[in-house]
């Protein structure tokens, strides 16, 4: 009953000068590194000092420049020494300020004037979020190796490794932030609505029914209470489906914009559920902390974060369950994949409510106004954890604690095996299933860190679990017609773009950072890491001789591949960075030149190395 109103001062308690200096330094370093990686900025080399190069970066303003030392690793990865970065204005030192950095370089960064203010707001929010995490503190890298699945989830600080403005959550206010941001790790009670079937659609996989789902996800008393509330409003529960809703969404979108539906009895607000949930890194996916055996819930949340409004399309209910079922069966029936232990977290049930006005106001399927009221239930990985196994988001591999210590290093140390053995384990768990899905089925996931759950045993990776299926997977240029109900998965892309599903998503967005951490924290040279990657690819390929033709056609040992620039997308349009409904979505991607493929040099020796390596690890 007692809860004080928000204190205006408390919500900015984390904005102290010391913390601010630290987070600005980090974000300026990341901005220089990632924008240079995307060739938006071109620092000038002044001289070298051993491995380090000394660089100067001039800005749109002749008086302002940045100097720093850096090493250029594989894939044009800029490893910048944080402490070396110095900004000067008219020759005098100036403090590092990430918002000012964007302002000073907005012409170079080609940010359109209508995007600029929103992008600056996103940078400020990202800084604020980083400051909050630092202020709140968090477990050390060592502690994280022992922490629970959800403790690790909440301790992640970096967000997406390549996006500079990756933590904006435009739409959250300062109170919302502390209630709903994953890093705040506050328990969240979802609201439940009953939605009339004339506008709401529910679908689930074949091994589940609506009634079973509800019985598994809600207590009998809650279900009875909800049914009573529907009856009190004059409705018959049989004509309604239940939808869990994010509290923010209810207050900010549903209560007002669905007022017609509420007044007409098509939507009935039932109140909060009993269970406490914890927001996952992706913000709108929730883990049930009251009942860890229950499923994840993913809800629509119409805030802008990293290039999109994070709604959930009501139309997913039409195809989501079928897609999950199809993919899960595919994975399960493939002997090779079974052997890797690779599994999916199926999204087993979907519910969506079609808005009476916005469905007609706009022909775009993914218009944010059509993605305001929908939810899905995803399988919980805790059920498939064996004895001695632990779960950990793959994002932990890139995580540095507040003292700058690496979780990956702690894991390797504790595992008792060499870095090489550990990394080869990891690659087998993560990369092999991706390669097989791609080569055998043209099936691609979005295998970034927060979508992958590592299963560890003795602190070594033993297998991976993939999530985010219905919205994020695709079948590139399918050679056989897909079944009708999953037709939506077919993506027509130019032939030469196909391998980017590995090159961009895994090499550039995951391995590039893993390599940097291995180099900085585990003293592992880049060429070693990339050789292990090459070996891993070769190992997979030699195990699948019948796909040899495809390996040649989609050559992962090609000398170069297209440089696919993610920040450029967001800088161009921070609210919808990729038009998923364009005639050709690839068209809206930003390719700028090429990157040298770090495993190309092992192309010829691939087979022999792979077999040698195979002996070593068996």
């Amino acid at each position: 009953m007692m809860h004080m109103p928000p204190s205006p001062r408390d919500v900015v308690a984390h904005l102290t000068p010391d913390i601010w200096t630290a987070v600005n330094t980090r974000l300026v370093v990341k901005s220089i590194a990632e924008f240079s990686h995307e060739l938006l900025l071109r620092p000038t080399l002044l001289g070298t000092d051993g491995k380090w190069g000394h660089y100067v970066l001039s800005t749109d303003r002749p008086s302002t420049e940045y100097r720093f030392r850096a090493q250029l690793l594989e894939l044009d990865h800029w490893l910048i020494d944080d402490r070396s970065v110095q900004k000067s204005i008219d020759g005098r030192p100036a403090p590092l300020d990430a918002v000012a950095f964007i302002v000073e370089l907005c012409a170079e960064l080609k940010i359109p004037s209508h995007v600029l203010p929103g992008y600056l707001e996103e940078i400020a929010s990202t800084l604020s979020s980083a400051a909050y995490k630092r202020w709140k503190g968090g477990p050390t890298a060592t502690a994280l190796t022992q922490a629970s699945f959800q403790e690790v989830e909440a301790a992640m600080t970096e967000g997406h490794p390549t996006f500079v403005a990756n933590n904006a959550r435009l739409g959250f206010n300062a109170v919302d932030y502390r209630a709903y941001a994953p890093e705040a790790a506050e328990p969240v009670h979802l609201h439940w609505l009953a939605a009339h079937k004339r506008r709401a659609e529910f679908a689930c996989v074949d091994d589940l029914t609506y009634d079973e789902l509800l019985r598994q996800e809600l207590d009998p008393m809650t279900l009875e209470l909800f049914a009573t509330k529907i009856r009190q409003g004059g409705g018959d529960p049989a004509f309604y489906v239940l939808i869990p809703v994010h509290p923010w969404q209810w207050e900010n979108r549903i209560a007002q914009l669905f007022a017609a539906d509420i007044a007409g009895g098509d939507v009935v607000h039932l109140g909060c559920g009993e269970d406490a949930y914890q927001a996952q890194q992706s913000i709108r996916t929730f883990y049930n902390v009251s009942r860890p055996d229950r499923r994840y819930v993913k809800t629509a949340l119409s805030i802008v974060n990293m290039g999109f409004t994070r709604g959930l399309s009501a139309s997913l209910a039409q195809s989501g369950a079928a897609i999950n079922q199809w993919v899960a069966e595919l994975v399960k029936s493939d002997a090779y994949l079974r052997g890797t232990g690779f599994t999916l977290l199926r999204e087993v049930a979907f519910v969506g409510y079609r808005h009476r006005y916005y469905e007609r106001a706009n022909r775009r399927r993914n218009d944010p106004h059509k993605e305001m009221l929908a939810a899905l239930w995803r399988e919980n990985p805790t059920a498939c954890v064996g004895d001695g196994e632990r779960l950990m988001t793959m994002a932990a591999l890139m995580h540095l604690d507040h003292g700058g210590k690496s979780v990956m290093k702690s894991l390797v140390d504790l595992s008792g095996v060499s870095t090489e053995v550990w990394v080869r384990d990891y690659l087998r768990c993560y990369l092999h299933p991706l390669l097989h899905c791609f080569y055998a089925y043209n099936l691609v996931f979005t295998p970034h860190c927060e979508n992958v759950i590592l299963v560890l045993s003795g602190h070594r990776p033993v297998r991976t679990i993939m999530k985010d299926i219905a919205e994020d997977i695709g079948v590139l240029n399918p050679e056989r017609a897909l079944p009708e109900r999953v037709k939506r998965l077919a993506l027509r892309v130019p032939e030469d773009v196909m391998t980017l599903s590995i090159f961009t998503d895994s090499f550039d967005c995951v391995f590039r950072f893993v390599a940097a951490i291995l180099y900085e924290h585990l003293g592992c040279e880049g060429k070693d890491f990339w050789r292990w990657v090459a070996d891993s690819v070769a190992e997979y390929q030699s195990a699948q001789p019948e796909l040899a033709q495809r390996f040649a056609r989609y050559d992962l040992f090609a000398p170069t591949f297209a440089r696919n620039c993610l920040n450029r997308l967001q800088l161009k349009n921070n609210r919808m960075m990729v038009d998923l409904e364009a005639e050709d979505p690839v068209d809206s991607l930003q390719f700028v030149g090429t990157l040298d493929n770090p495993i190309a040099q092992w192309a010829r020796r691939a087979t022999s190395t792979a077999s040698g390596f195979g002996h070593e690890t068996i």
Binding site: M1, V12, W20, P117, A124
Partner: protein, 824 residues
């Protein structure tokens, strides 16, 4: 059970009661705070305790300061004759005092109509060394729950001293709604009520807030519109949409049948199967008076419900809202409906009640918003909880957040003679200024390097705390917390009236929500010159004998402060909404300017209708007893004459819409008017006019041919069109009589100012027709940035011309004017 006995024993021991048999009447556990119980007050045993409490400095509003033990004992002996008094315990400690009484037998009962089931309450919380977070709230929750345990109690009444700010916040929190200010024998007090439903809603809100870990979430208080309310507000908005869009000739209804003024019309949607049919008449200025219950929507003959958002979709081929804007426009429509439903559910005042309501009661009873804009109630950015806390129609008292802004980026300006120190002393009081300055010193900065400024709580939590994080971290902005005074939002949303001290100034703050086509920011650039512009106009008007005779005046924006965010200033062009996120101004209150017998009323009230559709204006005229002619003459002379004079004499135009004008009434007749919203809206329509350098922004080049639109569009079309309809419809006063009165006012003015004859001819207000400038067309074309404020003439949307309703009276003999003169 065991615990109960123990508790009683402990109470008795601690408290030294002689009669341990006295049992508590109520006990409850509060999560996080512990056990509370209530026992009847015992005389004389309890008096020493009470005596210590009432003499504590913090009990100054209890009114027993300085009394001896015997005097306190006598006072309670008397109080007990007509009230129940309880001593409240927290755990083992006596912690508060509760008086429960019947308002019927109390002074407060003379100030309102007491209902059966009303119960009065006084609560005194004991001073305590140990501060427990949320303790006082706990006491209030316990006490109100206890009082509502009695099923005959329907409503609790309180009358806190208006200066007792802490209590106001608590009362609001526990569900009280503030009604009006009353003069009681020993204090000036707010009268406030809490019904059983409000109380339940407030506590539900709290429990929801707790479970979600957020602060103020008021689901129940906002309520969800019920079907009937929703149907009605949709019907009303469809009616307005047809009327105003037909007025702007975006829609052309076809006349079907009928010979008199009233006829049946049909409007066919983009899909020809869909028809709207209704009964209407067309008044002057192409004003569509649609019979409220006559609208019938059919699809191939089958009747369908009226739905305002559907209506927009159905006609959008003609309305031409761009696909990129349509969803946002629909959001504004939804938000307008939501606001209308909220107002309708809360609208307790009838038109007749409002005639004698206070200035601020009328202000928050206004339900229509802008009379011409269809999507006028949208506050895109407010969530449901914000709505019940910040919307003017919620009438909720609220406090502002105060910031200290470093003078490197913040600038304070005021009219001559008003220093920063004096303003702060007058607005905050010496104590609060000192407290804020001490806080700044504690944080290691020098107060003189900073300017204190109030901000809207929404702006703080939603924008500044996030987007201005760099400034906060750099100590360029320091949050000082809540201010002490309680304010009430005015119709314009971001202007606040000080209800703690009605003579203090209004505060207007930046509020970055989207409403009626604009992001409602406030620009630091504008703030720089705001006081100078106000001062110049005020001096100009005060020196003018005609204006002085009309006693017309502006409410000066006397001081302003603007903060320039360095990144946005560097990166964004002038006028960008991001450069308008942190600024405030102080505007004079009209209250100190009132004479005995004068009453204030927003001019918007003249267009107001209550939930049954009854208009206030005819009731007001009836109450005045002077008849419509004389009443209108008083009104026109207060409002129109000064505007016409400013236009002809100085090329000076304002934005004289309903909420910007405050009428001063004497015996219910307007005798003069105050105009507000000066610096942002006033223009001198002559780029070559000589004004002081700081006021230069006022001067704008506007083509001579459209200058008179400042009267035609803003006054005739914007206000009088609706006044004429109301009088015709409900005042038994034909519209031509109204326009004749307007013409008489203009002619009388012209006669009194022969020296301006050339101007009258050049900008002839009796021309047969004038250009029809259309507001909805502007909003439909771009609902995020309707017009370019820096060039007001550039983006007007014209739709042909309108016949001038005063044109027929150009040659009118002077007799009607005599009527008004004779009244004087």
């Amino acid at each position: 059970m065991k615990r109960f006995d123990e508790a009683r024993a402990t109470d008795a021991e601690t408290y030294g009661a002689k009669n341990a048999a006295v049992s508590d009447v109520y006990r409850t556990d509060v999560i996080g705070l512990g056990r509370f119980s209530l026992l009847p007050l015992r005389l004389p045993d309890d008096i020493p305790t009470i005596h210590a409490w009432v003499n504590d400095e913090r009990a100054r509003f209890w009114g027993m300061e300085g009394k001896t033990t015997d005097q306190v004992a006598c006072a309670y002996a008397e109080i007990l004759l007509h009230a129940d008094v309880f001593l409240g315990f927290h755990e083992d400690r006596a912690a508060f005092l509760l008086e429960r009484y019947s308002p019927l037998h109390d002074a407060i009962g003379k100030h309102y109509a007491v209902l059966p089931g009303d119960l009065g309450m006084h609560v005194l919380v004991a001073p305590s060394e140990q501060r427990i977070s949320g303790f006082t709230r706990g006491v209030f929750a316990v006490v109100t729950e206890f009082l509502f345990c009695d099923p005959t109690v329907g409503r609790i009444v309180v009358e806190p001293d208006i200066r007792n700010r802490k209590i106001h916040a608590l009362n609001h929190w526990v569900g009280f709604r503030y009604d009006k200010v009353v003069e009681l024998p020993n204090k000036t007090a707010h009268l406030a009520f809490c019904t059983r439903a409000q109380h339940a809603a407030a506590l539900r809100r709290e429990s929801a807030a707790e479970s979600n870990g957020v602060g103020e979430v008021e689901y129940a208080a906002v309520g969800h519109p019920d079907r009937e309310t929703w149907t009605r507000v949709n019907a009303a908005l469809v009616r307005k949409a047809i009327a105003e869009l037909a007025h702007e000739r975006l829609l052309i209804p076809e006349r079907e049948a009928g010979s008199g003024p009233w006829a049946f019309f049909t409007l066919v949607a983009d899909d020809a199967a869909l028809k709207y049919q209704f009964r209407a008449r067309v008044l002057s200025l192409n004003h569509w008076d649609i019979h409220p219950s006559s609208i019938v929507k059919t699809r191939r003959g089958d009747r369908e419900e009226l739905d305002a958002a559907e209506f927009i979709l159905e006609f959008n081929q003609r309305l031409g809202i761009d696909a990129s804007m349509l969803s946002t426009y629909l959001e504004e429509i939804s938000s307008t409906l939501y606001a209308a439903a909220y107002k309708r559910a809360r609208q307790e005042w009838t038109a007749a009640d409002l005639v004698h309501a206070g200035f601020q009661e009328i202000e928050c009873a206004m339900s229509e918003g802008h009379p011409a804009f269809v999507a006028n109630g949208g506050r895109v950015g407010f969530d449901a909880a914000d709505y019940s806390v910040y919307a003017p129609e919620a009438g909720a008292p609220l406090r502002l957040v105060w910031l200290a802004a470093h003078r490197n980026h913040a600038e304070f300006n005021a009219v001559d003679g008003l220093s920063y120190d004096r303003l702060l002393r007058e607005e905050l009081g010496q104590d609060e200024v000192q407290a804020f300055e001490t806080e700044l010193r504690d944080q290691g900065v020098e107060p003189q390097d900073y300017v204190l400024m109030p901000v809207h709580p929404w702006q703080w939590f939603n924008k500044l705390a996030l987007t201005f994080a760099p400034d906060i971290a750099a100590r360029d902005l320091i949050c000082l917390g809540w201010g002490a005074d309680t304010y009430r939002a005015q119709q314009s949303i971001r202007t606040f009236f000080n209800v703690s001290h009605p003579r203090k100034r209004y505060v207007k703050t930046a509020l970055s929500v989207l409403n009626m086509g604009f992001m409602r920011g406030l620009s630091a650039e504008y703030m720089r010159v705001t006081p100078a512009i106000n001062q110049w106009i005020d001096e100009l008007l005060k020196a003018d004998p005609y204006i002085e005779a009309k006693r017309f005046g502006i409410l000066r924006e006397v001081a302003a402060v603007g903060y320039r965010q360095r990144h946005f200033e560097a990166a964004l062009p002038k006028g960008n909404p991001y450069r308008k996120m942190l600024a405030a101004l102080w505007r004079e209150s009209p209250v100190p300017h009132l004479k005995a017998g004068e009453q204030l009323m927003t001019m918007a009230a003249l267009l107001h209708r209550d939930r049954e559709g009854r208009a206030l204006l005819p009731q007001l005229i009836a109450a005045s007893g002077v008849g419509t002619d004389l009443w209108l003459d008083g009104y026109l002379d207060s409002y129109l004459s000064p505007l016409v004079h400013c236009f002809y004499r100085y090329d000076l135009a304002f934005m004289p819409h309903g909420e910007n004008v405050i009428l001063v009434l004497e015996n219910d007749v307007p005798v003069r008017a105050f105009l507000k919203d000066i610096a942002e809206e006033a223009v001198v329509m002559n780029a070559a006019a000589i004004v002081p350098a700081r006021a230069e922004r006022l001067c704008v080049d506007i083509p001579g041919s459209i200058q008179s639109l400042c009267i035609f569009t803003d006054v005739f079309d914007g206000i009088f069109r609706f006044v004429a309809q109301i009088l015709d419809e409900q005042g038994g006063y034909p519209e031509e009589n109204f326009w004749r009165r307007v013409a008489a006012c203009l002619l009388s003015y012209q006669r009194e100012h022969p020296e301006l004859r050339e101007r009258f001819e050049r900008h002839d207000l009796f021309v047969p027709e004038f250009l029809h400038s259309c507001l909805n067309r502007l909003q439909l074309a771009n609902n995020e940035q309707m017009i370019d404020l820096t060039d007001p003439a550039k983006n007007l949307q014209f739709a042909g011309t309108l016949p001038n309703p005063v044109a027929p009276f150009r040659e009118m003999p002077s007799s009607p004017v005599q009527g008004r003169d004779s009244r004087k």
